[in-house]
Symmetry: C2
Subunit: 146 residues, 2 copies
DNA sequence: TTGACTGCAAAGTGTTTGCACCTGT
DNA sequence: ACAGGTGCAAACACTTTGCAGTCAA
């Protein structure tokens, strides 16, 4: 298990949150995954290891993680929420064809946040930016259809 | 009725989409509204005028408008989608306390889109940015609680 | 030991769909 | 006339909740 996961587990323990095999498996899976999985994807991925685990447990734990500040919930137009255990500042690029979500590292645009504050009178705590388009794979596929 | 609404109705007609009182009312309400209402809010707002209209009709028509490029669907973490008939480039500022959504005019960040393309190989069609924080009203309320 | 967690099933939301009837063009 | 729209209810997908039994600390 990576030290990142261990660090997260420590953080949970410090908050008085109990450690269970399911909880640990869900968090580990999320932290080691690059694909921003949905609750159902997590559920199905862990099924071999936890055949009796219920979806409710996945949802319950995701909520615990989000509240503990370990995980971020991403909502898109389509169906289910996706979950991201990478809490560093980064944006997402989504393929409209196949649904792939890729990270894009970029320093946060704090200057534009200040602009928003000046124009709206809000106190801005953060922002979220999503790009959408077509991924290289889908581009290749559609261009090969002559 | 504003000329903006009339123009939109013309656009629909040109696409071969039939005009009905319900459809017209939903579109007019959306275009004259500043609050990015949800389907249910639209439904309830039009209830006095159309007591027999069903929610399905609201959803059906919103889908028609989105497909016709007249309306944009906004999804947030919480429950329902919200709909925005302002198709100009702008971003949204959401109050985490009361849920108010305010528009923020800003020239689109096309330079960062190009950056994304270079780093990810995607063809980027657009982006969406949401700011979140506290609105002036809620700030006043919380600071008055000594 | 005991409060927190799990699994299950049932309930809740928001949205879509199937179908008979109706209406705009 | 008739393709397309409406209203209604049932179906859906995702998520939450209630509860009895279980387990980590």
């Amino acid at each position: 298990m990576s030290s990142r996961v261990e660090h997260a587990l420590q953080k949970l323990k410090a908050t008085g949150i109990r450690m269970t095999p399911q909880r640990q498996a869900i968090l580990t899976f999320l932290m080691e995954s690059m694909t921003h999985p949905s609750a159902d994807e997590i559920y199905r991925s862990l099924e071999p290891k936890f055949p009796n685990m219920s979806v409710a447990t996945v949802y319950n734990n995701l909520k615990v993680f989000v509240e503990a500040g370990l995980v971020r919930e991403l909502t898109y137009g389509d169906g289910a929420s996706r979950f991201d255990a990478d809490m560093s500042d980064h944006y997402h690029v989504t393929c409209e064809q196949c649904g792939t979500i890729v990270d894009f590292e970029h320093s946060p645009l704090s200057d534009i946040e200040r602009e928003v504050e000046q124009h709206t009178g809000f106190v801005v705590k953060g922002h979220r930016m999503e790009f959408y388009g077509t991924c290289p794979d889908c581009m290749a596929k559609s261009s090969s259809v002559h």
